[in-house]
Symmetry: C2
Subunit: 519 residues, 2 copies
């Protein structure tokens, strides 16, 4: 059908065109059908919307960038023909039936995703089918390789290449800033890429950005890593495993992350970045992504099996995640806390200990004996700080950076305990909400600093935590939310008495030993 | 956040708004998050798109009808706040985990669907979860009732109310035009609603529209049915079970129709239209929706169980669907063929026999003994034709309508057999594609008429079928497609010889008896 092209100044996730209802009927097509539009030698495939107002009969509206790709003049005639669904829809339906997909079928799906051939409806069907029916390790390995092959890959002149990854879910986990310099200072090469926050208060890339440039392409990642031994880069600034960026657009609104897709997402980025040896941190416990030790063990097993298929040696650490790592949450606050550790502080002890422990695992994979002692030596001798400054300098930051250079939010407010008792629990998700209300991660100075952690004795009137913000209005919003969410539960030894008579009392027998947890 | 309202002249399935990237980050929201926009006393919830070109920082773009619902002036300030996902997303995820949903949870999902609270991504997750994990009969009954309760319902002054439904999948199935008049002429009341074609060549509503008005609201449906005993209406013109219209928008592009949703879709429309007694036609066999007798039996059992829960007596007919019913495919061609039967023709015999058989089942549900004899008597005495004309007149058509009044496509082309032999198979789906290429269902005169059916002897040079079109160009397209698809397979008794030596010959022993099938 020959129609006049009309530009529609509106962007959408999918290439989209608009036909008048009558033309759609004439062409025998419906909303969400695929239309091929031809203009001279160019041709695009777009998803159909129908209308009786936005375009007239005889016209085809083409949205946003798709119009530029096709390139007609205003009112120029283009040829519009119905076209069929991409082949991968067949394989998505096969997975919906619970069947195993072949290597080639998985590759076709990922190709179609990367080339934006799938509509959101089709992409959602893929993600939901994967969430429900899963993939075995062979399929997951094929999925990982398909994601690698459709993006950039990095090859290093020397090796082996080391990497470190946390599956996330525990706020305040700024240890990458300490692990990478320790590993690089020991002479191993660790081209680390990190992500930004999606629903957390601060991704590692958000934290690093406080003091260095995290944007680099694959070439620069290689150059910096080969020069100074390590990087602190934003993974999103290079095109490693680009399928992931598209898939997450439908995972996020549903709040799901299918197991196979999560495994492939992590491992494809590591494989594409050339990793040979990988340590994975799996924060575990209530309020994290992995609630139980059993789940964490199964998760670790899958990572290791998958690593074997991909030629990456994987070791996993199941770590304590029921409260934040350290005390600071938010980009600048976390940066400051991490640099303090690099400068020699052993507090907060949870940051110090976790960093040493994770770095030690990497060092031992690199053939260094007594990894923990070596990691401590590198950190305490100042070699890690020196290496950190080299990396920061290579990424355009201050070569003499110190923790005192980091500016935190100028507006702050202490949240006070209304009673004396013990901190019985700290709710990760609620703390994250408060930090985000205060402006984190966009406002670099915003966040939360805990004054008390689980098991600590608290007196009435003492500060539980402090909220920081760059803008006064956001501080107010965060305070209001903090009052509503009450993320830190303080209780007496006698939690409650039931029924309201003196006859029955329920006493939680908790020794102060148990109460004194990781800080 | 206070932003200037800007109208965006573009319609989308979901209420949609557009924020500049920076404002979205400031607000802590991402694409596909939900935003509440407030203007004076109005407020809408819209899905977010982000942009760095379509709107400027400080503006919120609001698409199409959502702008009108909110009602701000150009550049008027509106308040924009993030809002949470609808509750039903939780229940959709529960179904993704394979759990049974409660009555209240199902009702919440359907309410959110009808109120357009779900995005396409969420709606797709619902449909895919249902396709994979299914629903038991209790859930399906709850789903059906939720779909009934969210739409219009019709209550008749007298009863019982009879209804008839075909699950479709077999082209040429115009029998509703004959069954309804027979049933109504017998004194039973049958307020029949039908659908238009989605992917078929002609829905029953498309056929009726050739000679009568199919649009009526629920009130008129009742009035006409109570006056003349039956209707031949388009279900889409009234708001019975409106959830269905939204759900089909994601089912169609995936080419799926989850079993529980299909059952609920059919039964909710019947329940809403007040049916007490229902006969269901299940066309079965290769090239239909229900390939095997076993599947058809299970399907029938589910319809009957569901009917019991809904207070509808259901009887099912498993019918032969491996080739078209009758010879005509396409709105006017099918209308003409059906009226010919009403006028006394017994050919095509498949139309005559199926109509009598289905009508007889309805009559017997109505307590009329020897239903088949009674149906034949009504048809052959001309009472059915009289009743048909009454219904047509009540729906604004010609009260003296006859088959000769129906105009078919003025362009036609015979497809000739290149060899002598037998028609071994007729491919339903390919015939439908050819009819659609010829212009069906939009061009009322377009379609296909079969000259030969399965098992018929064909001589070289004889016509296999004729393509009709209202437009010459479409006839050409259909002819081209017919050559490519070859929907009617003519073979000799000796189909092939393997290997190509005289030693082995494979002979298909087919008696002419078997070859002479339903015509």
């Amino acid at each position: 059908m020959n129609l006049k092209a009309r530009y529609i100044d509106m962007e959408s996730a999918e290439y989209t065109c608009v036909l008048h209802d009558n033309d759609a009927i004439e062409l025998g097509v419906r909303e969400q059908d695929r239309i091929r539009i031809k203009h001279e030698r160019n041709s695009i495939v777009a998803l159909l919307q129908t209308t009786d107002t936005v375009v007239n009969q005889g016209e085809v509206g083409i949205l946003g960038r798709a119009y530029g790709v096709l390139g007609p003049e205003r009112d120029e005639i283009v040829d519009v023909v119905p076209t069929s669904k991409p082949e991968s829809v067949k394989y998505i339906k096969k997975k919906m039936r619970g069947e195993e997909l072949t290597t080639e079928e998985i590759r076709t799906i990922i190709n179609d995703i990367v080339q934006h051939n799938l509509s959101n409806i089709e992409l959602t069907a893929y993600v939901v089918a994967l969430e429900i029916n899963g993939m075995n390790i062979r399929e997951t390995a094929d999925l990982t390789m398909a994601m690698v092959e459709t993006g950039d890959t990095i090859t290093f002149d020397r090796g082996p290449i080391f990497d470190f990854h946390s599956v996330g879910g525990c706020p305040g986990n700024k240890i990458t800033l300490i692990v990478v310099p320790i590993v690089a200072a020991a002479g191993l090469i660790i081209p680390k890429t990190s992500s930004r926050a999606i629903s957390s208060a601060a991704g590692t890339a958000d934290i690093i950005e406080v003091f260095a440039d995290v944007n680099m392409d694959a070439h620069k990642l290689r150059t910096v890593a080969e020069k100074v031994g390590g990087t602190l880069a934003w993974g999103g600034s290079m095109s490693l495993s680009p399928a992931d960026d598209t898939i997450i657009k439908v995972e996020y609104p549903l709040g799901i992350d299918p197991h196979a897709q999560l495994l492939a997402s992590v491992m494809s980025k590591k494989k594409a970045a050339g990793a040979n040896c990988l340590v994975i941190d799996i924060p575990t416990g209530a309020g994290t992504k992995v609630p139980t030790i059993e789940e964490a063990q199964a998760f670790a097993r899958d990572f290791m099996d998958l690593g074997e298929k991909l030629g990456i040696e994987v070791r996993c650490a199941i770590t304590y995640g029921e409260q934040p790592v350290g005390r600071a949450i938010g980009p600048a606050l976390e940066a400051k806390e991490a640099i303090t550790i690099l400068e020699g502080s052993k507090h907060p002890s949870s940051v110090y200990e976790k960093s040493i422990g994770m770095a030690a695992m990497v060092l031992e994979m690199g053939g260094i004996k007594n990894g923990e002692a070596k990691a401590k030596e590198i950190l305490e001798s100042g070699q890690a700080l020196t290496k950190f400054r080299e990396i920061v300098a290579a990424q355009g930051g201050n070569p003499n950076i110190s923790s005192s250079d980091i500016t935190v939010g100028m507006y702050k407010h202490d949240i006070i305990s209304a009673m004396s008792g013990y901190v019985n629990s700290i709710k990760n998700k609620q703390l994250v909400q408060i930090a985000r209300a205060a402006g984190s991660p966009k406002d670099k100075g915003a966040g939360v600093v805990l004054n008390k952690k689980r098991g600590n004795r608290v007196l009435e009137g003492e500060t539980l935590y402090t909220i920081y913000a760059d803008h006064e209005a956001k501080l107010e919003q965060a305070i209001e939310l903090a009052r509503k969410l009450d993320p830190m539960v303080v209780e007496n030894m006698i939690i409650s008495k039931l029924p309201n008579s003196s006859k029955y009392t329920v006493i939680e027998e908790t020794s102060s030993n148990v109460r004194s947890e990781r800080n």
